[in-house]
């Protein structure tokens, strides 16, 4: 019996279920169905593949499948504040798998004569290997930065972009030569080494605040390497699933770039977040500070309070205290909403997940575009660990590095509270005008401790 007649329909079903899986992610009420659909699709894909003829034995497949599952479980149990680095690690695994399969295919071609490579297949193979290995090291670097093993500030040196681009250019050139002369095996390890090096060098100059874009971009690369693998193996399912993943990464990176008013090129080669020497020359201006009791008193008399969370909330693990504050205020009839900036946190949607973990209902999480028209009506804006995304300089100061970036208009609320450890500038090293506003009161202290005192004061 021709197994292809069974396997191909299984693959088709799998591809369809992957599309449905992503479709159901459109809304929280259907999203869990999307996971089920994705699982069934993947089981079908693996099952179909196991039915293929020509296997010597299933030993290694089974051992590897079990080993991967055992490794996967702890990686799924990380605290939600660590999800960005887990995601980066996961992209590294995806890139590694694609790179290894590509390398293996090439050496099989060298070792056995039965499968000559067409120019087209060699091209796809080179693309797979370059994308796979650069995603591997790039994602490891991103994970290192997110875990703060590697300095999160951009590491730059003279001629950096020229060096990076020429390395990448040489890799592409070597790839082109390999397509023309597939037997020049010496080119192949060179391509791999260049891709590995390029992945590292690409991420080194990117600052921590740009991680949401970078993670999304690496997501797209992981997908594209699966597409390239599909072309090498003549497998439509790989192409379809890889393309879905690639377009997801692409859309997310576009959303992230737009939310910062920057281009891809600027994120990748702009070394954003370098210490701004010029911006450091701002004169010392007076800020007003307040105590937890003052804040509690003003908030309890407010009609609406808008809480603006940022990465600092995740660092301080303050989301559960935010939830207590939400409860205390709601109980007193104050309307509490959360304004979530698209790039708040270290990956797309990071704040939403943390707040959902703290059991804040998702209909209270409002996107920037929807909350901004309401900000002048808000009695209190409470900024917890956010900085650049509420800096009014982005609206009017043409000399500011973040000029033009859409922000949450916290400054337009009647009273602004900013919970902050000290007056040190934020991640991008940019002075924040909001702190000096007439209606701004600083709440100095650790976010978790400060919010605990505010909640205490509300109860007392």
């Amino acid at each position: 019996m021709n197994m292809d007649a069974v396997i191909q329909p299984i693959y088709l079903l799998s591809a369809m279920l992957f599309v449905l899986s992503l479709m159901w992610m459109s809304h929280p009420s259907t999203a869990r169905r999307g996971v089920v659909s994705g699982v069934v699709a993947m089981v079908a894909a693996i099952g179909g593949t196991l039915l293929l003829p020509g296997y010597q034995s299933y030993h290694w497949i089974i051992i590897a499948l079990v080993a991967g599952s055992v490794l996967g479980v702890p990686l799924a149990m990380v605290p939600l504040t660590a999800v960005p680095q887990r995601t980066a690690l996961s992209h590294a695994f995806g890139g590694l798998a694609a790179g290894l399969v590509g390398a293996s295919e090439y050496y099989l071609f060298l070792a056995t004569d039965k499968h000559p490579l067409s120019g087209f297949e060699t091209g796809a193979l080179v693309a797979e290997v370059i994308l796979g290995f650069l995603t591997f090291t790039g994602s490891l670097m991103a994970a290192g930065k997110l875990m703060e093993i590697i300095p999160t500030r951009p590491i730059t040196y003279k001629g950096q972009n020229a060096i990076n681009l020429s390395l990448f250019g040489i890799a592409i050139l070597a790839g082109v030569f390999l397509v023309i002369y597939p037997n020049w095996w010496v080119l192949f390890p060179i391509i791999i080494l260049l891709a590995l090096a390029f992945g590292v060098l690409l991420i080194i100059p990117i600052g921590g605040a740009d991680m949401p874009t970078v993670i999304a971009l690496l997501n797209a690369y992981a997908g594209l390497s699966a597409v390239a693998m599909g072309f090498v193996l003549d497998n439509k399912l790989l192409i379809a699933a890889g393309a879905l993943d690639g377009s997801s990464g692409l859309i997310l990176s576009i959303i992230m770039c737009r939310a910062m008013n920057r281009s891809f090129a600027n994120v990748l080669f702009g070394a954003f977040g370098q210490v701004q020497v010029a911006a450091g020359a701002v004169e010392q201006r007076a800020v007003k500070s307040a105590t937890a009791e003052d804040a509690a008193q003003i908030m309890e008399n407010a009609r609406t309070v808008v809480i603006i969370p940022g990465y600092g909330m995740a660092v301080a693990q303050a989301q559960h205290r935010v939830r207590e504050l939400y409860d205390a205020l709601t109980k007193r009839g104050v309307e509490v909403k959360f304004a979530v900036h698209p790039v708040a946190g270290r990956m797309p949607g990071h704040m939403n997940v943390l707040l959902a973990e703290a059991e804040i209902p998702y209909d209270k999480l409002i996107e920037m575009e929807e909350i901004n028209p309401e900000m002048p009506e808000a009695d209190v804006a409470l900024v917890v660990g956010a900085n650049d995304v509420v800096n009014p300089a982005a609206r009017h100061d043409k000399s500011s590095p973040i000029y033009g970036m859409p922000i949450i208009d916290a400054d337009r609320a009647k009273t602004v509270f900013v919970v902050k450890r000290s007056m040190n500038p934020g991640f991008a090293g940019i002075e924040n005008e909001l702190f000096y506003g007439d209606n701004t009161l600083m709440l100095f202290g650790d976010a978790k401790a400060m919010l605990t005192s505010v909640v205490q004061a509300l109860k007392g």
């Binding site: 497949i61 479980v73 993670i215």
Partner: protein, 120 residues
Amino acid sequence: MSLDSLVLLAAAGPPAAMAEGAAKADFMTLLYVLMLATFTGLLVIRNVSRLLHTPLMSLTNAISAIAVVGSIMLAGKQETTFSTILGAVAVVASMTNIVSGFLLTDRMLKMFKKREPGKS
């Protein structure tokens, strides 16, 4: 072409060149798949709620581990020791992403509730 010659052709099986063409990549078909899947992806992902962008990323982590298909083939065909080892490592890496991706996505999605528990 007459019916007779068609029957003859069918009986003789496809000519060698045709079989080769069917077995080897039909380049244009693959490009069509890529093009259609990309546009489907772009349209579908644009509708994903911003609330769910983090779960979306972990879900696509799992989906991009579709590379497991190519990895299994290498680990199973065992043409050379080298390809078997690389294939098996690739299966481990992909399977890690599949299991952790789906589990983590589901774990996060469980947390998204419209109403607070215990309240109306």
